[in-house]
Point group: C2
Chain length 299, copies 2
C-alpha cells in the first residue's frame, strides 16, 4: 500500500493546531487578554501549516535511527508558525502591503488596529524564540542550536532582509535578483524548518546537509508555484485577491521568465527536494510527498 | 580611594558602543545595506546604555568568585540594547506614540519611512536573539538560558505586554496598575539585564535571587525617576519634548500619587537595589552606584 499523503497531512495539521493552541494558552496566563486575542486571531486562522509540518516530518524521519524529536521539535514547529504569522501581520500593515484580507478574513490591523497588530506581531516573534530557547525537555545545546537556526533565518540576513529587498524601489526585473530575494524572504524560514526538524531528530551530518538542500529547493519551488497560482488560480480558491502581485507592480517569476518556464523551474526544484529526501526515506514517504505538494497544490 | 563612578560609566559606555558596532558589522555582511543603515541609525544614536552596562556589571561582579562572563555576557549586553532600541523604534511609529524626535534627532520612520522602521525594529529584535543563542564561545546551556531570559522578558508576558497595557483605553489611574504596567514595560528588560549578567558570570543561586531583586527595584526606580524628569527637566536636558506624558493623557507616577510621593518612592526602590547589590559587593561599588544613578540622573 502506498503512502496516504492526504490522511497524513490532515493528521499533522491537527497535531500542529493542537500545539499552537497549547502554546497560546501558556502565554495567556501572564499576558494582557486583548494582546493574546490578537495573537490568536492570526495564529489560528488556518493555513497550510507547511512550516511546522516540515519540522515534525524531518524530526520524525531523522528520529527513526536515533532519538525522537520530542519537546524541542514540537516547540520549534510552533515557533516557526508563530514567526510566519508575525511576518504576515506586519506585511499586511498599511505602511507595507496595506492588505485588508488574509485567508478570507479581515487582516489583523483591520480588526485590532495598527498599534495592536504591530505589537501582536512583535509578541509572536519574541515568544516563539522564548519557547524554543527555554521550553521544558530536551538538551540545552539542542535548544540553543534550534533558536539560532530560527532567529538567524528570520532576521536581517533572512526573512526580514528579503522583505526589504521586496519593497526596494530599485529592484531589477531579473531572475537572479528574484531568486536571491525569495531565498531570503520565504526560503530561509522554510529551510530553517527542515534543518530544525533534522537537528531535533538527531540527524547525521549527511542528513543535515540533505535537509538543507531539501529546504532550499522546496523554498524556491513553493514561491514559484505561489507566483504561478497568483496568475492562474481564482480568488475563491486562494482566499485572497489574485493577480495582486502584478497589480502591485511586484516582480514575479511568471512576469520575469514567463509562465511555462516558471512551471518548469518549480518542478525542477521540487524534483531536487525529492532527491534530497532520499537521505531520510528509502522509499518515497512524507518528505517526498511534501516536495511534490509544494508545486502541485491548488492554493 | 572611593569608587570613581563617572570614569567607570564612561569606560563601560565606550565598551558597549564598540560591541554594538562590531555586531552591526557582522550582520551587515549578509543583509541589505539600507536595512543595516536603518538599524545602525537608531542603535548608534547614543543613550545611557544602562541595560548593557547592567549586564556587564553583574557579569563582572559575579565572575569575581567564578569564571568571567566572556562572550555570552558581551552578546547578552549587545542584545538587550538592540531589543531596547527596537522597542523605541516601534513605540515612535505613527500608529503608536507618533513621535518625531528621539534623542534630539528625527525618529527612525521620519528618516527611513514607516515600512523600513517596522522592519529595522523586527530585525534588531530577531538578530539580538540570534546572537545570544548562537554566538561563538560559552557553554550552550548558558546561551539557551540567556536567550530564554531575554525573550521571555521582551515578549507578551513582559515588555510587549506592558506596552499593550500602556495604550489600553480603559487603564485606571491607580498606583497598582502603574506598577504592574511598568514592571512589564520597562522593568522586565532591566531585570533580565541583571539576571543575564549574573547567569553569564556564574552567579550562585543566592546571587541570582539578589540580581532579580536588584533588577525589579531599579526598574521601578528608573521609571518613576523618568516620570519625575518628564515633569521637572527641560527639553534641552532630556533631548526630547518634556511634559509629553501629560499631553498624551498618559498616567504617570506624579499624576497618580503626586511629585513628592513619587520622589520618595523612587528613592525607596533605589535603596532596595543598593541593599540587593550587597550579595555581589562587600563595599559599595559599580552596582550600588548604578542603583543610586537610576534616580539621581539629570536625563
Amino acid at each position: 500500500m502506498s503512502f496516504d499523503f492526504d490522511a497524513w497531512l490532515s493528521t499533522q495539521k491537527t497535531r500542529v493546531e493542537s500545539l499552537l493552541d497549547q502554546r497560546l494558552n501558556r502565554v495567556a496566563t501572564h499576558a494582557p487578554a486583548r494582546l493574546v486575542e490578537a495573537m490568536r486571531y492570526s495564529l489560528m486562522a488556518g493555513g497550510k501549516r507547511l512550516r511546522p509540518i516540515l519540522v515534525l516530518a524531518f524530526a520524525d524521519a531523522a528520529a527513526r535511527a536515533t532519538q525522537g524529536g520530542g519537546e524541542p521539535a514540537n516547540d520549534a514547529a510552533v515557533a516557526v508558525e508563530m514567526i510566519h504569522t508575525y511576518s504576515l501581520i506586519h506585511d499586511d500593515l498599511p505602511a507595507m502591503d496595506d492588505d485588508d484580507l488574509r485567508r478570507g478574513r479581515p487582516t489583523n490591523h483591520k480588526v485590532y488596529g495598527e498599534a495592536m497588530a504591530i505589537l501582536a506581531g512583535d509578541a509572536l516573534l519574541t515568544d516563539a524564540l522564548a519557547s524554543v530557547a527555554g521550553g521544558p525537555g530536551g538538551r540545552p545545546e539542542v535548544r540553543a542550536a534550534l533558536t539560532h537556526e530560527l532567529a538567524y533565518a528570520a532576521g536581517a540576513r533572512g526573512m526580514v532582509g528579503g522583505q526589504v529587498l521586496d519593497i526596494a524601489e530599485d529592484r531589477p526585473a531579473e531572475l537572479d535578483y528574484l531568486v536571491r530575494l525569495h531565498r531570503m524572504k520565504t526560503g530561509a524560514l522554510l529551510k530553517a524548518a527542515c534543518r530544525m526538524g533534522a537537528i531535533a531528530g538527531g540527524a547525521s551530518t549527511e542528513q543535515l546537509a540533505a535537509a538543507d538542500r531539501f529546504g532550499d529547493s522546496i523554498g524556491l519551488a513553493f514561491q514559484i508555484a505561489d507566483d504561478v497560482l497568483d496568475v492562474t488560480a481564482s480568488a475563491e480558491t486562494m482566499g485572497k485577491p489574485t493577480g495582486a502581485d502584478a497589480d502591485a507592480g511586484r516582480h514575479t517569476f511568471p512576469a520575469v521568465v514567463g509562465l511555462e518556464r516558471s512551471r518548469a523551474l518549480a518542478k525542477e526544484h521540487a524534483q531536487a527536494a525529492v532527491s534530497a529526501a532520499q537521505a531520510f526515506e528509502t522509499t518515497p514517504g512524507a518528505l517526498a510527498a511534501l516536495a511534490v505538494y509544494s508545486v502541485e497544490r491548488s492554493n
